[in-house]
Amino acid sequence: MARELKLMKGNEAIARAMIASGTDGYFGYPITPQSEVMETLMLEKPWETTGMTVLQAESEMASINMVYGGAATGKKVATSSSSPGISLMQEGLTYLAGAEIPCLVVNVMRGGPGLGTIQPSQSDYFQSVKGGGHGDYQLYTLAPASVQEMYDFVFDAWDIAFKYRNPVLILSDGAIGQCMEKLYTRDYVPRWTEEERRKNAPWGTWGKPADRNHNIITSLELDSGRQEIFNLKLQAKYAEMKEKEVRYEALNCEDADYIIVAYGSSSRISMKAMQMAREKGLKVGLFRLITLFPFPTKQLNEVSKKCKGILTVEMSAGQMVEDVRLATECRVKVEHFGRFGGIIPTPTEVLEALENKIIK
């Protein structure tokens, strides 16, 4: 089936991609600016077509734990929410990471802290990649910058989630969630059959046949010796992700005197600022992160060897900027520019910041 060209919101793309990628279950709770994900799923009634289960839960805590219970049986299960809701899901996320349960969580970020605003933001970076829950764990975190990527990353998420038995977070924001763009759909990936489920999730709790011991899905280990060994195993997994699964995009960085580092909506705005700078004869490049974890440390270090300064652009007080300084070993000046409260910066503001903070 040829890929179809469609026009839709980012949130809708997430929902349609979930259905198309053979998701078994979605459990969620309404919160602006991402309620369209569940609304679309309810309109599409996938339980009548692909057999996908969709349920509105009583809270985000119930939702993330439904993801846990469903995914622990070896099924492809997802949820979505926005910043305050994702905060409520943090306990569930560290349990999912601790029990090594593959699943998909989408955060369409909005301004914080607290109830904050419903406008877009990127101030959940720390929460996403530095562990919003307790314990040493990581979520494989993808940052879409377009409606097409909102769609595609759902498919990619399932591959990573089951390859590494790890939750995957798609970290988007209200702008991408709400704006409409064209996208090319992908062929339907059928939901797994019983045999496929047993092959892809032999660890799952789908009922103990006589020929194996009973499976246990837990994150509890009271024996410290064993828990340390388990933690080392998790760290090895994350190291492998860092080695093999980093994704980024470097535009005009080879000859760049100055580099803008950004992801998601900010990277779209920065692309325009880069073009404006190039028109003024300034050799500016854009390094766009696609995976926030694993962070492209080596790649950014390499690309920034020749440049004289880096500006990070984030809709926050500056969180990723710290990781950029670490990655570039403070060899060059790294400054942050961002707006708060849901205000989206303009390309002009980005260019001014680059000139005032970095170039001067």
């Binding site: 846990y68 469903g70 049986t73 789908w206 103990k208 246990i216």
Partner: protein, 275 residues
Amino acid sequence: MTTADIIKPENLVYTKTKVLTDAVMHYCPGCGHGTAHRIIAEVIEEMGIQDKTIGIAPVGCSVLAYNYFDVDFQEAAHGRAPALATAAKRLNPDRFVFTYQGDGDLAAIGTAETIHACNRGENITMIFINNGIYGMTGGQMAPTTLVGMKSATTPYGRNVALNGYPLRITELIATLPGTRFVTRQSVHTPAAVRKAKTAIRKAFENQKDNKGLSFVEIVSSCNSGWKMTPVQANHWMEENMFPNYPIGDIKVDGKIVEGVDINRLVVDHPLTVVK
């Protein structure tokens, strides 16, 4: 006929079910958890559904239940078992899903999950062990701790002005249209164990026939938390827990049982001191 002649395989009438593992249970001597585990495992064995059952353990004394059932098990965060069960069942409708929770797990932090799973009428079996105390963490007050009952966090006895009323969660969920079968049992005497096992069997049969949510509360003792011997604890339970948490079926086939005072939510039977 000497004893040795009797003890022969062909004369065996009762032994531990194979659906329980060989692990020695960590529960305190005389704790109702062990008995409850055993009769659930016996029902699973008798129905021949060991290969189709998914259990969900709580956080609390029975957090390690998955080591004792030779059944696929998931460990839920504190209070969230009904949510896990909702998804596990909806995504695997041909499997038998049961949750196993204590009073703190089900009626304190997990109240919302309990009420909403019941209200949705999920086709699962919920087992609720009510011993009026937080055992695992060392005997603190639970939602079902009785008025006047001492605990690590009510050292002078539970006081309504300070700690509110004991929660009769089972009567509460019995009023929800989603619940099909709601009963309260105990496991401290042979007769009580038989009735409790019958109730659990009925709950699993309801699940097999897609009749909606079955909820089995088991009032149990906690001799460590209550600071009594196991036998004393059982007597104290009969004199104090049962009047406030009456034993018997509360709702059958979706209808409240005749004579059950469903509205009596106030727990008001004064405590006695065990002899």
